[in-house]
């Protein structure tokens, strides 16, 4: 198995590069890289591509924010009855996608996004900003500024809804 780092999301920009020691698997562990469609990425050597360090944390945050409510939730039969697992792992921002946008939407979406991002304990959310609702394009752009705790690396993530 070989290691490979690769960025698959086009929606974030990096301002400060993490130091190499911050990317050690011992800090964050290692995870297989998954595309947005859930496909695994194959490395040039033919192994499953692996991500570690700050990259892994950033991908984890993007994955969380890309998960609709109930998208990751599962029900499991246990000795104490049906148990609901991981219902908090979701982004309530999705609830607004099928609703008409109003002037209040931007503030509500910002709060929803902040709530989802705050649940990832590996990053500190510095700020969440939402652009004004543009009637012409029916779009709102949300920007999250966060810091990866293990490396103090500052990043921003832009989402257009």
């Amino acid at each position: 198995m070989t290691y490979q780092r690769r960025f698959t999301s086009r929606s974030f920009t990096r301002r400060v590069e993490a130091r190499p020691e911050d990317r050690l698997p011992s800090i964050t562990g290692a995870d297989a890289i998954m595309e947005h469609q859930g496909d695994l990425v194959v490395s040039p050597e033919g192994d499953i591509a692996i991500t570690t360090g700050s990259d892994l944390i950033i991908k984890g945050l993007i994955r969380r924010l890309g998960t609709p409510p109930s998208g990751y939730r599962r029900y499991v039969q246990t000795a104490n009855g049906l148990q609901r697992l991981d219902s908090s792992y979701a982004d309530e921002l999705y609830d607004y996608l099928s609703s008409p946008l109003t002037k209040m939407s931007a503030a509500q979406m910002r709060a929803a996004l902040r709530k989802a991002a705050d649940l990832d304990g590996r990053v500190s959310i510095i700020d969440v900003q939402a652009s004004k609702y543009e009637y012409a394009s029916s779009r709102i752009t949300l920007t999250i500024t966060y810091r990866v705790k293990s490396s103090s690396e500052l990043s921003t993530l832009n989402l257009t809804v």
Binding site: M1, G29, A32, G60, T67, V76, T78, A79, L85, D86
Partner: protein, 360 residues
């Protein structure tokens, strides 16, 4: 008693196993690859844990449920009482001058509770307008909720002119007498368990099987061997995880005392083991997988020992004949002769040594 594990505990075991094999994928944060696989694995293991708990419970009368309890009861030729319908009578009178003929499949309904009754007789019933006819009925459905008090009015859409009322007669003051009664539910696990327990404690309860079951229900006892040496004298040897003290043996004696017939002398002692070392020389077949073969041989030998009862002689020839089909050649090196235990001893293995020779 087996307690199913929590989902999180199973997941943690999975993560620990990943760490042990130095897995390249070891991020266990929510949403990660390893976490997701661990969660799916935990769901499967959780269902197996439930099955294990049920299996474990089925071994004990106090914890068996449903069909497991039915199997327990079958040992004592007892059956769970099924649900039954309510039965009784209905008085019918017509409001029309003309005679009404009710066929035997007529169904009457209590419009308040929805309970339905069917006529419990063959042939038609003739109803007139001057005297009430008594018709035996039984409820269509079973259970205690089918009971209806005397005086309940019933209705048939096919015969709206006939007044049906629960009861078999009227008192001098004109009140209806005779309810629809007898409807019972299926016997619950709790009631059934009590009845089985009662059957265990009543007459003839000193039978060996019953005492063995009772003792093995006790947490101190792993296995019990009950032997009626002569009429009135019962000898019991119990096997437990630890050697029982004298006071624990007395405690067990007091525990089964109410279940033994009056005048019976019961003697309880700790079972003792006579250990033997088993050595077997094996020449496997050319294509044999040695790991798998050794597992097979060891489990066969263990089974042979576990099948022994107290005081039973163990012969090495049994090992020889049981293992022979599994390899090209099998020779029992130890024990070299029959192992004859004392009447209070159980022959057990201390170690099993298997020696393989692949040379032809």
């Amino acid at each position: 008693m087996f307690t199913p594990r929590e989902i999180s505990s199973i997941q943690q075991s999975y993560f620990a196993a990943l760490a042990e094999v130095d897995s390249a994928v070891n991020d266990i944060a929510q949403g990660s690859f390893a976490y997701t696989i661990a969660r799916a694995n935990a769901a499967v293991v959780a269902s197996q844990d439930i099955a294990l708990r049920d299996l474990s419970n089925s071994a004990y009368l106090s914890r068996a449920r449903g069909s497991q309890l039915d199997e327990w009861a079958a040992t004592f030729r007892l059956k769970r009482a099924g649900a039954s319908p309510s039965t009784g009578y209905v008085l019918a009178i017509s409001n029309d001058k003309e005679l009404v003929f009710l066929p035997s499949d007529t169904i009457l309904t209590d419009l308040k509770t929805g309970v339905q009754v069917r006529m419990d007789r063959t042939g038609t019933v003739e109803v007139n307008d001057y005297t009430e006819v008594v018709i035996p009925v039984r409820t269509v459905r079973l259970g205690s909720t089918t009971r209806l008090p005397a005086g309940t009015e019933l209705f048939s859409p096919r015969y709206p002119s006939v007044a049906f009322t629960v009861g078999y007669t009227r008192s001098v003051s004109g009140e209806y007498c005779g309810s629809l009664e007898g409807g019972t539910d299926t016997e619950s696990d709790g009631d059934f368990r009590r009845r089985i327990s009662d059957a265990l404690t009543t007459a003839g309860s000193s039978s060996e099987t019953r005492l063995k079951i009772l003792l093995e229900e006790n947490e101190l006892v792993n296995r019990a061997y009950v032997n009626t040496k002569v009429a009135g004298i019962v000898e019991i040897w119990v096997d437990s995880l630890n050697i029982l003290t004298q006071s624990q043996l007395l405690e067990l004696e007091a525990y089964i005392n109410p279940y033994t017939a009056a005048g019976t002398i019961v003697s309880i002692g700790s079972l003792q083991r006579k250990y033997v070392d088993v050595g077997v020389f094996v020449r496997p077949f050319a294509s044999a997988d040695l790991d798998r073969l050794s597992d097979q041989l060891a489990s066969t030998i263990k089974y042979l020992f576990n099948s022994l009862t107290i005081g039973e002689t163990f012969s090495p020839l049994v090992i020889q004949s049981s293992l022979a089909p599994l390899a090209r050649d099998v020779r029992v090196i130890s024990p070299t002769s029959e192992v004859v235990p004392q009447p209070y001893e159980l022959v057990s293995y201390r170690a099993i040594d298997l020696t393989f020779s692949t040379q032809s």
